[in-house]
C-alpha cells in the first residue's frame, strides 16, 4: 500500500501531512514508529490503574502525534478521551470514547502494517 492509499483507507489527510513533512519517506518513517508508541501502552496502563495524570498526558501526546501525522479519526477520538482526564479523575463515563480511541489506534496500526 502506498502512503497515499494509506491515507485514503484510514480517512486521514494526505495533502496536509505532505505539506508538513515534505517527503513520503519522512511520512513513512514516522508512521512506522507509531504502532510502537510507548504513549499508547502507557495510556492503557494508566487508565487501568487509575493514574489520571498519566492518562491525560499520554492521551494528549497521542492526540498531538495524530494531528501532526494528519490521522484525522485518531486525532479526534484521542482528543475526546483526553478531555475526561484533564482535571484528574474522569468527569463522566469515558468507556465509549476509550473504545473508539482503541479502535482507531488498531485500525491505523493495521493499515501501517500494510505499507510498502
Amino acid at each position: 500500500m502506498t502512503i497515499k492509499e494509506f491515507y485514503e483507507k484510514i480517512g486521514g489527510n494526505y495533502d496536509e501531512v505532505m505539506g508538513r513533512l515534505m517527503t513520503e519517506a519522512r511520512v513513512a518513517k514516522y508512521l512506522k514508529r507509531f504502532p510502537e508508541s510507548q504513549d499508547y501502552t502507557d495510556m492503557c496502563a494508566a487508565i487501568d490503574s487509575g493514574d489520571w495524570a498519566l492518562a491525560f498526558r499520554t492521551s494528549h501526546n497521542i492526540k498531538g502525534m495524530s494531528l501532526n501525522l494528519a490521522l484525522t479519526g485518531l486525532a479526534k477520538s484521542s482528543s475526546d478521551l483526553c478531555e475526561y482526564f484533564r482535571n484528574g479523575a474522569p468527569a463522566g463515563d469515558f468507556s465509549a470514547d476509550y473504545a473508539a480511541c482503541k479502535a482507531d489506534f488498531a485500525a491505523v496500526s493495521a493499515a501501517i502494517a500494510e505499507l510498502d
Binding site: R20, L21, M22, R26, H60, M65, N68
Partner: protein, 353 residues
Amino acid sequence: MKPYALIVDDVEMNREILCIMLEEKYTVIEAADGDEALEELEKHADEIAVMLLDLVMPKRDGIGVLTVMREKGWCDQIPVLIISGEKEPELEQRCFNLGAFDFIHKPYNRFLVDTRVDHAVALFGYKGNLEKRVREQTEQLRRMNGQIIEMMGSIVEARNNESGTHIRRVKGFTEILAKEVQKRLPKYELDDVTIEKIVSASSLHDVGKIMIPDSILLKKGKLTPEEFDEMKKHTLLGRDLLKTAPCDWDADFIRISDEICHYHHEKWDGRGYPEGLKGDEIPISAQIVAVADCFDALTTRRPYKEPFSVEKAYHMIKGGECGCFNEELMELFELCRPEFTKIVEEKGLEYDD
C-alpha cells in the same frame, strides 16, 4: 554561524518535525522535558535566539518552565513560542501573562512556524539593538552632564585665577578618598552611585564664589576679618545658587551638591563655618571634599604662595594646622597618600598658573 533554536517537547517525533522545519536557518538544541530545557537555558541562554515550548510534559511542564524563565529574566532575552494542541483561551492568556511571545497551535503548519519564528527572532534582535543604543546614549548623556558640571565649577574657579585643573584634581582626590570610605567605613553607606555623584558634585564646592566681589576674591594680601566674613558667605551663596538648579537634575545629586557647597568648610570640632556643625553632623560628602580641597590648596601654587610638598601638606593637615578633621577619615587619608601623590605629580596638573 547559525543562531540557536531550543525545541522543548517530550514527544520525540514532534521535536524531529520541528527540527526539520528549522534546521536550515538554526542550530537546533532539543530538550525532552522542562527540567532539561532549564539546564540548556543555564548553559546557552546568551546564545539561544528562539525557544519552542510544549505545554504538557512530564516533570516540569511548559507553565513551570515559563515561570522560571520569567523569574530569571530570560523571557526578556529569548522569544518563547508555545507549541501546543491546547486551545483554551485562558491557558493562552496565562502563557502570555508569564511572558510567552507567541502561541502556535498544533498541528504544525510549516509556513506559519517558519514565519512566526523568523519574526520573533527579528523583533527580539531589533529590540536588543534598540536597548543597546539607549544604554549607550544614556551613558553618553551621563558623561556630558558630568563634563558640564565640571565646566561650571571651572568657570567659577577661573574668576579667582585658578585653572580647571584644580577642579579635576579635587575630583580625583575626592574619588580616591570616597572609595576608601566605602571600603573601610561602611557606616557611611557609600555605594558606587553615591560616590559618582559626590565626585561630580565636588566640582561645584566653590560655586558660591561667583557672588563674592572681586575686591575680596582677588585680593592679593591677607583678608581683614570683615572681608573674611564676606568670603565665608560663598558657602551659603553656593547653596542658594543650587536651589535654582535645573529641575531635571537628580534629587539625590542636588542634595549632595547642597551638602558639599554648604558644609565643606565645617570642622570636626565645630569650629568651622557657616553653621558650626560638629562631628558627623557634617555630611560625609562635605567631609571628604573638605580634605580634598584643603590638600589641593596646599600642594598647588597660589598667587600668595608656592606649592607645599606632599609630605608637608600631609603633616599640616594631620597635625591640625588646617583645622580639625574626622580622625577615622585622617587614617584613610594616610592610606591614600600614594594615589594622592600620583595626582600631584601628574603632568599638566601640578600647577595652577
